[in-house]
Structure formats: C-alpha cells, structure tokens
Symmetry: C2
C-alpha cells in the first residue's frame, strides 16, 4: 500500500516537471490524503527538491477512518510552535535552496498566499491548478473496491429501512436512522448529509430533512451514501407509500427511470461527458421538464463525494475505464413532489460487460 | 428581526468607511449569514455604493434551519447562468461605478481573487480582514437566547443518555444516540461531530468515536453541542463507569475541576483573554501536566462553534459583557485516559452575578 502513495507522488512530480515546476505544495485535504495516505488537520504535503514531506499542525493521531500517513513519507509536526504548516513547509524549502513552487491557487486563500510570499520573497510561486484532481479521476482496483464496499453498505442500510414502518415518521428521523445503519454496517460515516424527502418535498435535489411526516400516497425519495476508508459513493431511490401509485406518479417515475437508464447506457470509455448528460437530459426535456433541471446529470466520486468529471452540458472531456460516476437525473414538481434515481457506476470497457453498477438496490417502483 | 441585519450592515459600513473602503464583499458563510440572515450555498453579500445585495448561485430555498434572507435585502440569483457569485457581484459593482472594494482575503482563494481582478481590472481590491468576525464577538440578547436554548437541548440529550445503560456500548453508538436526541429535542443538528471517549481514549480532545466498548472502571468523556437557529454551543463532561472510582481518577478529576473552575471564575468584563487561560493552565502546569496541554483553554462560540476570542497564552485583547465562551481544560494520560470538563458561559458584569452558565449539567463526578 505504501508504494501506491509514493508512485502517485512520482506521477505528480512528472507532471510538475513537465510544466516547469520542480516542487509543489499540496494543501487541499482530499489531495493531501490521496498522495500521503492521510490528511491530519491543516496538513500540507511538500514535494521538495530532494524529498517529500508531510507538514502537520499536530502529530498525526491514530484515526483508522482517516487513513494513516504513508510510512515512506517523512512527517514534520509543528506541535507547540503553532503557525501555518504551509508557511513552515515553504521555510524548509527555501532552506533547501528552492527557487520556485507550484501551489494550489484554487485552495490557498489570498492571506495564506501572501504569508508564503513574505516568508520567501525570492521564491517564484506558480499555480499547480487541478493537477492532483486530474490524477484522481481514474481509480485503481483498490479504490474501486472501497467504493464497492461503500455501495454495499448503503444498499444494506436502505434495504433495512424499507422493511420498517415508514408512515408517520419524520424525514429527519428516517435520515438519522439511515446514518446509524450506515455506521452499523461498517461505514466510517455517511458520505454526505442524508436526504429524505416526502410528499411535496420528494424529488428535490439536496433536500435537507424536515419534520414533515411520511403519509399514504406520498412519493418518498431518499439519497444517502457511505464513506469507507475515505471513499464515498451515493445511491438515490424514490418509492411510493401505500398500495397504489397514482397515474401521474407512475408516468413521472417511468420517465425519470428512462432518463436515468439512458444516462447509464451512455457510459463507456471514450464517451464525452456532455453526451452522457445529454442522453438523460434529452428525455426529460422532450417531456417538457427542461425548467428546473439540475445543471449536472452526474459527477465523479472518490475521496470527495463530488469530484471530476462533471457530467453536464458544457463539460469538456471524455470518460475512461475505471472512472466511477453517478447518474442521477430527477424531476421535481413544486407543490406535488417528484422522482430522483441515482446510481454510482464504474466505467468499464464494453467487452467487459459495460459499466459496473455498484448500487444494486432495485430501481423498480416499490409501493411501501 | 429585519432591522437587526440592516443595522449590522450599517455598523460594518461605518467600519469600512473609517478604513477607506466605501464598499465590501463578504464571502465567508458565517459572516454572510450574520449580515444577511441566511447564507445559501456559495452566496456572497455585496455592500455596494448605494445598496446591499445578496448574490446567490440559486434562488434561496426555504430551509428554516438555515435562516431566511433579511426581507429588506435585495437578492440576486444567478440561476442557470452559473458562475461565481463573487464575480457577478463585482461585475454589478463596476456597473455602478465603484472603484474600490474590500474583500475577505482570509477566505477568498487566490484563484477567485484573480477572477475578480480579471472582471474588474480598474477596481482596487483591499483587505476587509476580520472586521465581520470582530462585530460578531459581542452577542445581542436574541443571539444569547439561541445559545441558551441550544445549551438546554444539549443538557437534555446528555441527561437522557446518562439514564441509559452504557457498559458494553461502543463510542460510536453513544455518539449517534446523542446526536439523535439533540434533533429530538429541537436542535437543527449537532453543533460539531460528537465526541465520546472511553477508557484510554477518555480526556483526549477532539477524539473521534471508535468501536471501543465502555467497560467498568473506565473514565467516559463526552463532548457534544447543539446548533439552534445557526447558533452553536458545547458541553463536555467526564464520568466514571461503575461504583467506585480509583484514587488516581478522583485525584485527576479534582485537578481538572479546579482548573476549569478557576477559568470560569476569571471571566469578567475587562479580563484579558490570556489571563483567563492562565488561571486554568496554571493549575494543571503546577501539578506537572504542562506537556500535552492544548493550546487553548477556551474560545468564543456563535454562528461557528469556534470563533473569536481565543482564550490562549498569547492572545491579545479583553473580554466584554455578552461575549459567550467555552472554558474547557483537560488532561489526557496516554494509555490511561483522562478528564475534560467543558462549559459554555456568557460574560456578564459582576454586579449582575458574574458569568452566566449556559450548560448546567452537574460537574460533580458521577459514577454511572
């Protein structure tokens, strides 16, 4: 496992060298974790002139859910001296004779960047841009395994909930119940704030659970995910409460199901991000639902629940094998409710059977 | 209630004018919420040349727990056009003829700051610094009321847990149970990740709950808080599991209790931050526990669980009446465990009875 982190750092160095920077400072926590095995609070990773160094505010705790620093990586802890690990890292670099440094300008604040320039006025600071985010897009089989386990955990938690009584319970209680079950089944924790939306709230993307109680006849839409060894994935399903869905509910569900299936079926190595988005969006647009559609049909997952690539109309780029993404179109009719269906899949070659579905809870419309 | 937000914005404008900037852009979410009543995702608040404007990525949802935008404030939503609300705000300002703008350099990334300069090359960007954080330090009675209710909720959740069976349950389950009870009793949610630490983990600051089970003879330390209308406070208590604490446990508990009491008793209008810290720290130092003590004895609370002021050895400044702070010293003996006692109090004049204790769960050492 140690070689994984060292080899990721090597690949990043190669990129940096190609761009003209021999050294880099990584500060975004997910990026630090990707390259170093762990990201203790405030830690930065310095790819220095001769060696790599993890600079932390405090000595890393033993927090299994948070990963452990790569054993081949030198760790420097500021302890009581306090201060910004980024400033300390730059100070060490200058001591090594470094004259340029690529930093993550999409993460460092103006104030921190100025502090770096103060401590090293002769150091030329360049922008690393999204180099680490790009490295993170294609996952190795170990990462995919973590996502697969996380998806299984989410499937189990959801499955158990569906066997329990739902009518009369509040969105909030159901959300808390789901999160408890995620932890029971081995998750580090929820991947994000669990969403439970019933009645007129159903189908709303990112709905925060309220005290509304589930009622007969409601659509109930649920979106949850597990974090497992830092890797996060998500599943979203919509159900009907009671014995017989209304005609408008069946019609809307079939539509969103068709859109989501079209999105899934568009996933393949070489498929353009925007084409996957269009496959799903087109079906909803054609049925008159273009207003209020979300900007994205889906997105990558990994150490962050939302990462590159974005499956959206203006996105540039194409999928590769071993890229995990969500496909999550939905329609919300204000005042009535709606449907959202969300899977996490891994792009695989057609010859290997097409995209690997991680979230296997049925997508058939269940009446509960 | 609307006047509250407008008058906060007026006070901020007065500060800005005094520093030479007629206009300001607020981007830190807690600061936006403080001045605008709500901080929808990505929203920025522009104090423009003639009026104030809240610029959001999407139209604000009705999310009661997240606050509602001040009705007197104009709201501009980017909807489908997307992009960075900060850039859109600057664009509008330039249209108004603005030539200078104070921004939060401790929040804006280098990349976003550069984008602002691109869209408005003639605009002089200055640093607002911590002006809003400073305004937030002294709370009005409405804010203190929210903290008081939040503390009561946390007291209730903790009290209920203490009546239940603890031996054999994992730290994680107890933490999840506490968080469920916080929501049951009316909290928006937990103020921060609930900490439950048993046996050798007890007394560790910021301990993330593990699968370790509570055992007879353990110290059990718990730290939790409620968020109520956006306001967050915390309580921390340490208990002994079983009928008779060991001598070392009684001794350590008495020591930390004495340190925490000294910290509480030092709270008064005009007291220096560092003197409050020293009152508590001195007692622990004198008993030989200077190694491994945390950098802070306590900190302010409000819309963020950790805000100004810091009660630490090097902190500059003095307390005022109506400033809520925590006092939370502790000792952790690696491999054995420890004690942490944490209250939230509001600084009040001596004539009014001294500091108002919000977290009233007993601090007597309970054997559970």
């Amino acid at each position: 496992m140690s070689e994984v982190y060292a080899s990721r750092r090597t690949r990043l160095r190669e990129r940096c060298n190609a761009s003209g920077s021999a050294t880099a400072l990584i500060s975004r926590p997910a990026n630090v974790r990707y390259l170093a095995g762990a990201a203790p609070r405030g830690a930065v990773l310095l790819l220095g002139r001769r060696e790599d160094l993890l600079v932390c505010a405090d000595p890393p705790d033993d927090r299994p859910n948070e990963g452990r620093p790569d054993e081949t990586l030198r760790v420097h802890s500021l302890r009581r001296s306090g201060g910004d690990p980024a400033v300390a890292a730059v100070d060490l670099l200058v001591g090594e004779g470094g004259d340029s440094l690529a930093v993550e300008e999409h993460h460092l604040t103006v104030a921190r960047h100025r502090a770096l320039r103060s401590v090293a006025p002769g150091l030329r600071l360049a922008d690393l841009g999204g180099a680490v985010e790009q490295l993170r897009v294609v996952k190795d089989e170990e990462e995919i395994s973590c996502l697969r386990i996380g998806a299984e955990i989410a499937d189990q938690a959801l499955g158990e909930l569906l066997e329990s009584i739902l009518v009369g319970r509040t969105e909030r209680h159901l959300a808390l119940e789901l999160e408890r079950r995620l932890v029971d089944h081995g998750a580090d924790g929820p991947a994000f704030a669990t969403s439970v939306a019933t009645g007129p709230n159903s189908g709303r993307r990112g709905h925060r659970p309220t005290d509304r109680r589930v009622e007969e006849g409601d659509f109930l839409s649920v979106c949850l995910g597990a974090s497992y060894r830092g890797y996060r994935c998500e599943i979203g399903r919509t159900f009907v409460i009671g014995t017989s869905p209304a005609d408008w509910q069946i019609e809307l569900y079939d539509l969103v199901f068709a859109a989501q299936r079209a999105g899934r079926e568009a996933l393949a190595p070489g498929a353009a991000f925007r084409d996957v988005d269009r496959a799903a969006r087109h079906i909803l647009d054609s049925a008159g639902h273009s207003e209020g559609l979300h900007a994205l049909t889906g997105h990558g997952v990994g150490l962050e629940i939302e990462e590159d690539p974005q499956l959206s109309p203006a996105a540039m780029g194409k999928l590769d094998a071993c890229v995990p993404v969500t496909v999550e179109p939905g329609v919300h009719l204000p005042g009535r409710g709606g449907v959202r269906i969300d899977d996490t899949l891994v792009v695989r070659p057609e010859a290997d059977g097409g995209p690997e579905l991680l979230t296997i809870t049925t997508k058939e419309l269940l009446a509960l």
